[in-house]
């Protein structure tokens, strides 16, 4: 149910220079520019090609398992005693998160472009697992860069990637987390420009990635629209999703940006608190240039990038997708933040009350539902994006709760 954007729409970006307002752009080394221009052209052609859309829909249905359900969380609703809460069940996708939607699109595009080698960066490992999975499915070489710290704290996902035939490269530079994995993937791409496709995991990086990844993820919001219509006969009143780079969030939000009655909330990771260690780029950062785009970033007064901190390895990136930066500045989306402790509490609550163990990333969105839902009337329809499942986080949460497995 793709609604074409109207004039004066919030949905027309990026412009032909890859900008959302002042954000976005193409800040990359010259070696990469010809590739980025090729990719832009290939994607523009693919999105006009009905055969590409048909191929994509086929795999989304039969391989990924879409549409994902829009589930009325009755017990959670009763618990908060306010808004009627629906969960968009992206955690039921093959590989356990929304990441697969985007990876499928990019891998099909890479195949069209004749690329045989795929590289990716990953934080929590969900994007790496999704990429390794689709490379296995299509017989492509797969190299995943992952910060050495994340390799240690996300061991189950590392093993899964290896089972799927991917090479996982632990990155030892910098703080050895997602930011450094992205640097290393860019270095690989600069070195192996001829045969390699860089599959970026979020709505960041040089144009056309932010818009392209958003388009692939917008299936989340498109489905939500029609599912909510079927369930309640109208639009939802509010949407909530966690934001690291922000791909699951923009995927849910984008199809609703031009519906003025729909309140939209993104939730950043406040870590130990916004005055301490955190990964809230909008709440605690400012506009800068990194990894090919201008966007809100965590940095010091000299423009040196700082590390983000979050309990969730998927949210501790020191930046955010450029479209989010723009949506923040124009006020269309309200960005909140949730601390590590709030996320762990929400993780436990959903597990106990609905029998669904959420990813720690998604638990940040749920943490703000706890604030917002009780303030809303009973007929308020709230959709929470359950972007991933929490199996990968069980050992970490056990440790936090003092349980020895």
């Amino acid at each position: 149910m793709n609604v074409p954007p109207k004039p004066n729409s919030y949905r027309t970006g990026p412009d032909d220079r890859g900008r959302f307002g002042i954000y976005g752009g193409r800040f990359v080394a010259e070696t990469l520019m010809p590739l980025i221009l090729d990719l832009e052209k290939a994607y523009a052609e693919a999105r006009q090609d009905s055969a590409f859309a048909k191929e994509m829909t086929g795999y989304l249905t039969h391989y990924v398992g879409r549409p994902s359900p829009l589930y009325f969380a009755e017990r959670l609703t009763d618990h908060f005693g306010g808004a009627k809460i629906y969960l968009k069940r992206e955690e039921l996708n093959h590989t356990g998160s929304h990441k697969v939607n985007n990876v499928l699109g990019q891998i099909l595009l890479a195949r069209r472009m004749g690329k045989k080698r795929i590289i990716a960066e990953t934080g929590a490992g969900q994007h790496g697992v999704a990429t390794a999975t689709l490379c296995a499915r299509f017989g492509l070489e797969c190299v995943v860069y992952m910060g050495a710290v994340d390799v240690a704290r996300q061991a189950p996902n590392v093993f899964r990637m290896k089972m799927l035939g991917a090479e996982v490269v632990p990155v030892q530079s910098g703080a050895r987390t997602l930011k450094d994995a992205m640097n290393e993937a860019l270095r690989d791409w600069v070195t192996n420009v001829g045969n390699t496709f860089y599959c970026i995991g979020t709505v960041a990086g040089p144009h056309p990635y932010p818009g392209m990844v958003r388009d692939f993820q917008s299936v989340i919001g498109d489905e939500t629209r029609s599912q909510m219509h079927e369930a309640e006969g109208r639009l939802p009143d509010s949407l909530i999703a966690c934001v690291g780079g922000g791909s699951n969030a923009i995927g849910l939000f984008h199809p609703f940006l031009d519906d003025p009655t729909v309140e939209i909330y993104g939730v950043e990771a406040a870590g130990h608190g916004l005055t301490k260690l955190h990964a809230a780029s909008i709440a605690g950062g400012r506009a800068g240039v990194l990894h090919g785009n201008r966007t809100y970033l965590l940095m010091d007064d000299d423009g040196q990038i700082q590390e983000g901190h979050s309990i969730s390895a998927g949210l501790d990136y020191p930046g955010i997708g450029p479209e989010h930066s723009w949506l923040n500045d124009i006020g269309r989306v309200k960005y909140l933040s949730a601390t590590d402790d709030e996320a762990v509490a929400a993780f436990q609550l959903l597990s106990k009350i609905e029998g669904i163990i959420p990813a720690l990333e998604s638990a940040h969105a749920l943490a703000k539902v706890a604030d917002l839902a009780p303030t809303k009337p009973r007929d308020h329809l709230m959709v929470v994006n359950l972007s991933g499942r929490g199996d990968k986080d069980v050992p970490q949460v056990a440790e936090i709760l003092g349980t020895k497995l």
């Binding site: 010259e30 070696t31 270095r187 420009v193 240039v289 000299d302 423009g303």
Partner: protein
């Protein structure tokens, strides 16, 4: 308007030899030692100096330059200090061209207009900003040209004949040809192909062409110098800094001399190249 870079390349052409462009990182391994290195470079044989602006996330650099940047940052180097270091150097040397090289974010945060004013006042001649392709010229390149600074662009093996005019349009001072697809300090280039690439670029521009990435010793430098107007060496010098550090990882009295020694060796390679080829 003739800039220090124009004058220097014109002099080199008159001498009938290629130039040596040396890259060192500001503030590496500490500010005092980095200044001593800077001061020693012209005497050791550097014709043009590239001064690196340290950045936390240098996405086109290899491990040697990444590490150098982190050493400098952990020692408290800032962009303001880097500009002051150049002003200090300029007070004793009015002729050696200095080009600042790095990434855009520290400049963006410093403020483009303020940066250009301060860079000009410090005696900087040109800028190389790795993550600003021609598509982003409005950010810094055009204001820099207006302020009278050269903006040196990288051309690479992926820059084909169709794209070259785009890359060359707002380039001045010289063209920096990156001899490999890859990061600094890693693969050694194929020197025949490098010479072909220089010839190809020269069909599009009258600017001097300097070649860098992967040049590690005097023999490499001589091989590149036969076909190029200048040879750029960075990682090898930064490695010399690292190798000279004491047990606590601090710069020592030997550091500047160690860099000067390798620059001397590279310079003799560059200067002997054309004679050897005749």
């Amino acid at each position: 308007m003739s800039t220090r870079l124009d004058t220097r390349f014109a002099d080199l052409a008159r001498e009938g030899r290629a130039g040596l462009v040396t890259y060192v990182m500001a503030g590496d391994p500490d500010r005092e030692t980095a200044r001593a290195i800077l001061k020693a470079l012209p005497g050791a044989g550097a014709d043009v100096i590239e001064f690196g602006m340290p950045f936390t996330d240098p996405m086109a650099d290899g491990p040697a330059i990444q590490a150098a940047g982190l050493r400098a940052l952990s020692g408290g180097q800032t962009l303001k200090k880097t500009l002051e270091d150049i002003a200090w150097f300029r007070s004793g040397d009015q002729t050696t061209p200095i080009v600042l090289m790095g990434y855009y974010n520290p400049i963006y945060i410093y403020g483009v207009d303020r940066f250009l004013d301060d860079a000009k006042a410090a005696g900087i001649d040109g800028l190389i900003v790795v993550d600003l392709p021609p598509e982003e010229d409005a950010e810094l390149c055009l204001p820099a040209l207006k302020a009278g600074l050269n903006f040196i662009r990288l051309a690479t093996p992926t820059t084909d004949d169709k794209r070259l005019p785009t890359v060359l349009t707002n380039t001045s001072g010289f063209v920096y040809y990156v001899s490999i697809t890859g990061i600094t300090g890693m693969a050694t280039p194929n020197f025949d192909r490098t010479a072909e690439a220089v010839a190809r670029i020269k069909r599009h521009t009258s600017l001097p062409v300097a070649v860098g990435f992967g040049v590690k010793n005097a023999d490499h430098a001589a091989a590149v110098a036969r076909g190029a107007d200048a040879v750029v060496v960075g990682s090898a010098l930064v490695d010399a800094v690292k190798a000279s550090l004491d047990q606590d990882g601090k710069g020592s009295a030997r550091t500047a001399q160690a860099v000067a020694d390798i620059v001397g060796s590279l310079a003799s390679g560059v200067r002997g190249a054309r004679r050897a080829a005749e």
